[in-house]
């Protein structure tokens, strides 16, 4: 009986300790599940793109549906200018989705339940989007912080709020995914613990909860990957088509 629901989030070394300077970059269970998720993505999509037939087989259908899904998502939120970033957003969505989904298998590790992973992704997106914005619009990108049609009196306040909201984007983006994943998994573990502690007599209620939660968590796993990708698209849209 695993007493602590947080033990599932522990990272431990697999294999030898690798150190570069003062930094420990050993291969861990987290790295293992990143590799597993990426390999799964690559296998599914390479099978899905192997041969072109007019009537697609199952893998091809899956690959093409995902392609169209992400393509439509980008087109709807960021427009046609975001086409060059399609591959990145596709990879991002698939990576987050597969990591979330692999986390749903019992005894696995959920990569995205670690704030450092989601924060790295979010920070990369934030920096990338900011760079894209400055490349596209030069210093005109700063107009993003000055919405049009605002009374001059309110302008200083609005600009400060805009800047804070812009800077908090990576934090909100990363914490959203991390908190959802961690909360869901912890909750499932807690209910699982209740099943054991209440035994054969009272365990049925938390067991049914656990079953329902599994369904919910699968939904959340997909939803959070989708939200992560679509927010990236929205940020990209801000950088590409300066709306304010």
């Amino acid at each position: 009986m695993a007493a602590n629901p947080m033990t599932q989030f522990e990272v431990y070394r697999i294999g030898p300790e690798i150190k570069v300077g003062a930094f420990d970059i050993s291969f861990t269970n987290s790295s293992l599940f990143m590799v597993v998720s990426s390999l799964a993505i690559l296998i599914v999509f390479s099978l899905g793109s192997k041969k072109s037939s007019l009537l697609p087989n199952k893998f091809q259908l899956l690959a093409e549906l995902s392609y169209n899904f992400v393509s439509k998502m980008i087109g709807d939120t960021a427009g046609s200018k975001a086409r060059p970033y399609f591959a990145f957003i596709f990879s991002l969505f698939m990576f987050v989705l597969f990591c979330n989904m692999f986390g749903m298998i019992p005894y696995t590790f959920t990569v995205t339940s670690h704030i450092i992973v989601t924060f790295m992704l979010a920070a990369f997106i934030f920096i990338g989007v900011t760079i894209v914005g400055f490349i596209k619009h030069g210093f005109g990108y700063l107009k993003l912080f000055v919405p049009s049609g605002v009374p001059a009196v309110l302008l200083p306040l609005i600009v400060v709020i805009e800047i804070i909201s812009y800077l908090s984007r990576p934090i909100s983006l990363s914490v959203r995914l991390f908190a959802n994943m961690m909360a869901g998994h912890t909750m499932m573990k807690v209910f699982g613990g209740f099943v054991i502690s209440l035994g054969i007599v009272g365990g049925w209620l938390p067991l049914s909860f656990s079953v329902a939660l599994t369904g919910l968590e699968i939904l959340v796993a997909f939803l959070q990957a989708y939200v992560f990708a679509i927010l990236t698209c929205i940020y990209l849209n801000d950088a590409l088509n300066l709306h304010h």
Binding site: M6, V11, S38, F45, M94, I116, V117, M187, L213
Partner: protein
């Protein structure tokens, strides 16, 4: 709705986890910086490889597959459209040919009819001419005969009457006297017999 439930669940969870964490020591492993560098390192490498492989090898293939399917379908539709148009023009041509040949057949029939009618008319004309000629000839002959008839008749009358007289009275009478009588009678009744 889902979001609301989710939020409530998360809130509940934090209550539970808070209690559990309070009971145990250690807290959240996520906040333990021991493996942060390792996670960052491996995330960068693995996500980088994933991105490169997807963007350089797999996604272009999927996109090409989709494109080729799209173009194949549109090509097929185009070809079908083309063939439909072709068949329509062919049908039109066929109809034209049929109507043309119908007209031709009609005209040929009409020509033949005209020709036959002409022939018939020509032959009829010729026949009529011939018949007319024959009729004329016959009429001439009849006229000739009619003109010659009184003389012959009067001669026959003279001959027969001289012979009759001879047989009756056994005497020969001068032909000239008989002929005078016949002439006289002919003049008297000729109009009655010959219609002159």
């Amino acid at each position: 709705m889902i979001k609301k439930i989710l939020f409530q669940l998360i809130f509940l969870t934090f209550l539970f986890t808070g209690k559990v964490i309070a009971a145990e020591s250690g807290g959240m492993p996520q906040l333990n910086p021991e493996f942060w560098v390792s996670q960052i390192f491996w995330l960068t490498i693995i996500f980088g490889i994933l991105y490169v492989v997807l963007s350089k090898i797999i996604l272009p293939k999927i996109s090409a597959n989709l494109e080729s399917r799209k173009s194949q379908i549109s090509d097929n539709i185009e070809a079908a459209e083309k063939q439909r148009k072709e068949s329509e023009t062919k049908l039109k041509e066929y109809d034209e040919i049929i109507s043309k040949s119908k007209n031709e057949a009609k005209s040929i029939f009409n020509q033949a009819k005209e020709k036959v009618l002409k022939d018939i008319n020509a032959k009829k004309d010729i026949l009529e001419k011939q018949i007319d000629e024959e009729i004329k000839k016959a009429e001439e002959e009849i006229n000739k005969l009619r003109i010659g008839a009184p003389k012959k008749i009067s001669k026959i009358a003279i001959d027969t009457s001289s012979e009759l007289i001879q047989k009756l009275i056994g005497a020969e009478i001068n032909n000239s006297s008989i002929s005078a009588i016949v002439d006289d009678l002919t003049k008297k009744n000729g109009a009655k017999y010959y219609g002159n």
